[in-house]
């Protein structure tokens, strides 16, 4: 295999990783502030993808306009669903034991996934890419999908936006203060419940954005929620729970790993290489948990 080919795969892997980051950053943000791992995050991402699909049917396929409408409408809709879930369910379990939190979010996974099945059925769907992103750019003689390059640019923009929000705005200060001492923050006159609700909504917005981007990236079906939540979980464990920077690094590692490994393994003669590559996220997670249990960017628990 040529160096160019691996470079090509690297870029595809990075764009996959960026897509993963957009979703995983929401999961890690919610965990960081609310201390709950929302396993239903993947289901919300899937709902976002299917909503984008339904919306695309109402408009001219492949138009720039419809792509923008999807990007503008779907993530806020998922954030609103997040608002309802947080207000009615999640805020009751922040101080509960982990088992209860796990049961609630897992129950939500089952409910939401079945809802998707009811509404959209089991067939795989896809959304036509907008024309200007549908082609490919030539890269060392190989055709690199423009859409992948696009996602490769959106990812860092989201990372930068999140960083600025967390470290340069009052909203970010409030979120980071909530992580340490919510009661103290409340006594300072801050409505901490609202900070938590907003954080949860932002996390869901990111899941929705990931869903929209995914709907034009590859086929979507009923399995993508579960598939993505597992990858996201691996990402946040590798990067460190609650760390957005860690989620970025973790996503890129996973994205590049699952793109590279099948080729790499096949080239050294491993049978069924793509199946072996599926193990990669878990293997990485296991290695990190053994070597550095709090993740690459995380901090040991107090």
């Amino acid at each position: 295999m040529s160096v160019q080919f691996y470079l090509f795969l690297l870029i595809n892997g990075l764009s996959l990783g960026m897509l993963l980051f957009i979703i995983a950053s929401g999961l890690t943000l919610v965990f960081g502030v609310l201390r709950v791992i929302n396993f239903a995050h993947g289901s919300l991402y899937m709902i976002g993808a299917f909503l984008a699909y339904s919306l695309s049917l109402l408009m001219t396929g492949g138009s720039l306009f419809s792509f923008f409408v999807m990007l503008l409408v779907v993530p806020p809709l998922i954030a609103v669903i997040g608002f309802v879930l947080e207000y009615t369910l999640f805020r009751r379990i922040y101080r509960a034991e982990h088992l209860l939190q796990l049961l609630l979010t897992y129950a939500l996974v089952l409910i939401l996934d079945d809802l998707v099945r009811l509404v959209w059925g089991g067939d795989p769907r896809n959304v036509t890419r907008p024309e200007f992103l549908a082609g490919s750019v030539s890269f060392f003689g190989m055709a690199l999908p423009t859409y992948n390059v696009f996602i490769l640019c959106i990812g860092p923009a989201i990372a930068l936006g999140l960083w600025l929000m967390l470290y340069r705005t009052r909203a970010g200060n409030l979120m980071r203060a909530t992580v340490s001492y919510p009661d103290t923050l409340g006594a300072l006159g801050v409505n901490v419940s609202w900070v938590m609700t907003s954080t949860f909504m932002l996390g869901c917005w990111l899941a929705g954005l990931g869903g929209v981007l995914m709907s034009s990236f590859a086929n979507i079906d009923l399995a993508i929620g579960m598939e993505k939540i597992i990858e996201c979980f691996a990402v946040v464990v590798i990067g460190g729970l609650g760390s957005v920077g860690g989620a970025l690094l973790g996503s890129l590692i996973i994205g590049v790993g699952i793109t590279w490994l099948p080729v790499l393994l096949a080239s050294v003669g491993v049978q069924e290489a793509s199946r072996w590559a599926l193990v990669f996220p878990y293997a990485m997670m296991a290695v990190v948990l053994i070597v550095r249990p709090w993740g690459l960017f995380g901090k040991p628990e107090r």
Partner: protein, 234 residues
């Protein structure tokens, strides 16, 4: 009467901590709540703030019944709380810690701006970009008071501010308490440091095992060696 606490009983789970505690603070006064370790000072202040709401009794602030009100609403009425353990947000810079206390947003009527805080605490200005977790005890104490002031309270609950501070810092703290008094901020202070309290307070209460055992003017307490010996470690 700006603050009126009437016969409150407060519990941590099943353990009864405060027994019919009553106290009153007039506008503009500085009142000290003295007592040994574990006497119930922190619990009293937390009960007023709504952090550990009393089971019975009432807390009135400026005529409003605030018993059982959530802390952020109590704070927005003008009651500021400065925790004993300082609770500086470790991952936030000094400036961000102050920002978080600035609950009135861009309200033009605010008295405590960054400039004024930095004028009184030049050290905080030097440290503006340092993370809260990397401050000394004295710096943390100044920051925790400054952070609460950013919300422009008219009434300040100060929980054992002199605890664990070097004598020079305690003197600075005393000077700043005088500044706040001049600004017209009412203060309810909890302390074990009798000398410090006698210097800055107008009136005193003594709490022991969750009961109020003494109340009176500072002058009377100063003369009352019997009471001081009985309830305070002097």
């Amino acid at each position: 009467m700006q603050l009126e606490v009437q016969a409150i009983n407060t519990f941590y789970g099943l353990s009864h901590i405060l027994f019919d505690v009553s106290l009153e603070v007039d506008k503009g006064q500085a009142v000290v709540l003295l007592g040994r370790n574990g006497a119930g000072k922190t619990t009293t202040l937390r009960s007023i703030m709504g952090l550990t709401p009393p089971k019975t009794g009432t807390v009135k602030f400026q005529g409003w019944d605030i018993t059982g009100m959530v802390p952020f609403k109590v704070a927005r009425l003008g009651l500021g709380f400065v925790p004993e353990d300082r609770r500086i947000f470790p991952d936030l810079t000094v400036k961000a810690n102050l920002d978080v206390g600035r609950t009135r947003g861009n309200d033009k009527s605010v008295k405590w701006t960054y400039e004024r805080i930095y004028m009184h605490f030049p050290r905080l200005k030097e440290l503006a970009n340092r993370r809260g977790g990397h401050l000394s005890g004295g710096e943390q104490q100044m920051l925790t008071i400054a952070r609460t002031l950013m919300g422009d309270p008219t009434f300040l609950l100060l929980d054992e501010p002199s605890e664990g501070l070097a004598p020079i810092i305690v003197r600075d703290l005393g000077n700043f308490i005088e500044v706040m008094k001049k600004e017209g901020i009412t203060i309810l202070l909890s302390e074990q440091n009798v000398k410090f309290s006698l210097k800055h307070a107008d009136r005193a209460y003594i709490v022991d095992s969750g009961h109020i055992k003494y109340q009176g003017s500072i002058e009377d307490l100063e003369k009352d060696d019997e009471v001081k010996k009985r309830y305070l470690a002097v």
